[in-house]
């Protein structure tokens, strides 16, 4: 496959999936009505379809599908950037404790019975605070070495996990506890136009930042000392990468809970298909991640009347696939 056709495929597939997703769901809307409702957004058309169908397509399915794509893309590019920066294939987006901190923030919001939007804001703020704490802890003598970052991440994640357990411990078992447990399993059911306005700006900004510095990630993957002798301000670059991935992950976790495995697996898929060069890999993971999570979420929302937690699906499919990749690559970099 030539470079251009690959690039074209990476653009077309997610968009096609987005369009197809609007036809999938528990609420029966005829494909013709879906198409007409969408057209009516740009063309002047008399609305002769049921009002509820329009709400389902425009207020429920479309925001949810867009959010799925953005979260999938964001978590994947973050995972790829972290794996490069930490030079470790097993690194995931929650290595610096963002997920645990956001999770605790969400649990607090649920304990305080805040609404969905406030929950997202609180979870986002806690995610940022958690990583800030990790970074602060890891910085000694003006530098934050990879090892110190990882260890500090472990410390901070353990701390917030303990707080999260504490929150579950005091939660009302009739209502709050199931809500917290369910939230932790991950779901995009909270998606609304409002959550899009909250989550999209940080996710898009973070992705843009990572895409801009993607070539420098190649150099950073040579190791801190070598990268410095090649003129990279490693502390600044790491700061940029951490800031970008944290914005993305905190926003993603805050709107859809803990959706694991994407940030770990999708970068490997990208590397298998297109090689390790971050110049190509990072944009590619955006596309692959968006498509993957969109498909997973279509299953989560349409396969049964009760919503299937997204985190269960991504892990159920992600883990065996990762195992397959490991076997295939024979333990070397995929």
């Amino acid at each position: 496959m030539t470079k251009t056709s690959t690039a074209l495929l990476l653009v077309i597939v997610p968009l096609a999936l987005l369009y197809a997703s609007l036809f999938v769901g528990r609420f029966a809307v005829s494909p013709l009505d879906v198409a007409r409702i969408l057209c009516a957004q740009i063309l002047p058309m008399a609305p002769d379809w049921p009002k509820s169908a329009e709400i389902v397509i425009l207020q429920i399915r479309l925001p949810r599908a867009i959010l799925a794509m953005c979260v999938g893309a964001g978590l994947s590019i973050s995972g790829a950037a972290y794996q490069g920066m930490f030079r470790n294939p097993l690194v995931s987006t929650d290595i610096l404790g963002v997920t645990a901190a956001s999770g605790f923030g969400a649990a607090v919001a649920l304990l305080l019975s805040r609404n969905a939007f406030e929950l997202q804001l609180i979870a986002f703020a806690f995610g940022l605070a958690g990583v800030a704490l990790t970074y602060r802890l890891a910085r000694i003598y003006e530098t934050a070495s990879v090892l110190m970052l990882v260890l500090s991440g472990v410390v901070v994640a353990a701390f917030f996990s303990a707080l999260l357990s504490g929150a579950k411990y005091v939660a009302d078992p009739e209502s709050k506890l199931p809500a917290i447990t369910y939230w932790l399993l991950g779901s995009l059911n909270g998606a609304s136009k409002r959550s899009l306005t909250m989550a999209l700006p940080p996710i898009i900004a973070g992705c843009a930042g990572l895409v801009l510095v993607r070539w420098r990630l190649n150099v950073l993957a040579m190791g801190d000392e070598e990268a410095r002798t090649l003129g990279i301000e490693t502390e600044r670059l790491k700061g940029i990468v951490i800031a970008c991935t944290t914005m993305i992950t905190a926003a993603a976790v805050s709107v859809c809970g803990m959706v694991g495995w994407i940030g770990l697996v999708i970068p490997h898929v990208g590397r298998m298909l297109l090689g390790p060069d971050h110049r190509v890999l990072l944009p590619a993971t955006l596309s692959i991640g968006a498509s993957y999570l969109l498909i997973m979420d279509d299953i989560a929302r349409a396969a049964s009347p009760a919503e299937i937690p997204l985190g269960i699906l991504t892990a159920l499919i992600g883990a065996p696939f990762f195992g397959y990749l490991l076997r295939r690559s024979g333990g070397t970099w995929a």
Partner: protein, 371 residues
């Protein structure tokens, strides 16, 4: 289940750690001594042959309990209010954190503050606190599995009675069994309560049983809208919806099931009842959410808050007897025009909780706000 497994694994873990803990041996012997002393004492204290009776519990176990029960431990949050309603609250020696935090239970029975919470929110027990409270019997909800700490409790000669938990019928059985465990006066209250409950159900079903399928509104009973969860079939909630002449819109099984927004749109309920605190705030969130905008109940302004008292009316509560009246009038106001719910509620609390509700208190219960 996880609790059972965790606790089951604990002794093995302790045994596994023992060889390594030789240094701590004197300490260990000390504890064994205490444990032996305790069981020795409890075996010796009842000088004569104590009078006992037997009761068959929800798990089908024949449990031997003292003839006279003076000290009860109730790790089932909801059932603490039942014990209060039956007049046995002064016998409570251990309760749960959750029961102690229920605002209206505290109002109706302030002493609950002094009852130690031997059970945490998850229903797990602090065995030492529990034994320290010297209960004659422990009352426990039965959901198909026995608690992991059952063997430990029985080793201390504390009988555990499992109570049925699920349907409206289970609720009535639980009231009767709780009364029987507590004693003669409580049993009489239980019988009186069941008569009252059955009267209410008869009063409602006399009307609603004649309703055609098409005349029964589809009712969605929700938990937190932040995380959309609904109450489905085979539950106490499904039961009272049916009694009150409605159909449960949530075509899923069990309480607190997460569903998609789109599924709610597909069910398109005629009525939405918000059943989780803070109900008013959660009701507002539904009305403000454009995604709910197309749903019939929202378009027609039929989003309601479920009352909450000594416990949540819609669940395992003494007020379930009122819930059937409330829901019937809510769903079919024309058919129950003669039903004065405010008067009925005041009479209920006066009769079973010996508390004369002021109008402000009545409003607090109906609006599910703290007193």
């Amino acid at each position: 289940m996880t609790t059972a497994r965790r606790l089951g694994a604990l002794p093995r873990a302790i045994i596994g750690a023992l060889p390594r803990a030789i240094g701590a041996l004197p300490c260990f012997i000390f504890f064994v001594g205490i444990a032996a002393g305790t069981s020795f004492a409890s075996a010796q204290t009842p000088s004569a042959m104590p009078a006992t009776r037997q009761i068959t519990d929800a798990a089908g176990r024949v449990v031997t309990i003292p003839a006279i029960v003076n000290r009860v431990s109730d790790p089932w949050h909801a059932n603490n209010a039942m014990v209060l309603m039956l007049g046995g609250a002064d016998k409570l020696v251990a309760t749960t954190t959750q029961a102690r935090n229920q605002p209206w239970l505290r109002r109706l029975y302030p002493r609950i503050d002094q009852v130690p919470a031997a059970f945490n929110a998850a229903g797990e027990v602090n065995m030492e606190t529990l034994i320290g409270t010297r209960p004659d019997v422990i009352l426990m909800a039965y959901g198909g599995t026995l608690p992991g700490w059952l063997d430990a409790a029985e080793a201390y000669r504390v009988p555990v009675v499992m109570l049925p938990n699920g349907s409206l019928e289970d609720l009535k059985t639980t009231v009767l069994m709780t009364g029987r465990v507590l004693g003669q006066p409580e049993s009489e209250v239980a019988a009186e309560y069941i008569r009252y409950f059955d009267d209410n159900i008869r009063r409602v079903t006399k009307v609603t049983s004649r309703l055609l399928e098409s005349e029964r509104p589809k009712v969605l009973h929700t938990a937190t809208p932040g995380i959309l969860m609904v109450d489905g079939r085979q539950s106490v909630i499904d039961d009272w919806i049916n009694v009150a002449g409605g159909i449960n819109a949530a075509d899923v099984v069990g309480l607190g099931r997460p569903v998609t927004m789109e599924q709610v749109a597909a069910w398109n309920p005629d009525v939405v009842i918000v059943g989780t605190a803070p109900n008013q705030q959660n009701r507002r969130a539904i009305l403000d959410d454009p995604r709910w905008g197309g749903i019939k109940a929202v378009r027609e302004g039929k989003v309601f808050v479920n009352p909450s008292g000594a416990y949540l009316w819609d669940r395992h509560s003494a007020e379930a007897a009122l819930q059937v009246l409330w829901a019937a009038k809510l769903l079919h106001p024309a058919l129950f025009a003669d039903l004065d719910l405010n008067r009925e509620t005041k009479r209920f609390y006066a009769r079973f909780f010996h508390h004369a509700l002021t109008d402000a208190e009545l409003a607090s219960i109906m609006n599910a706000t703290a007193p």
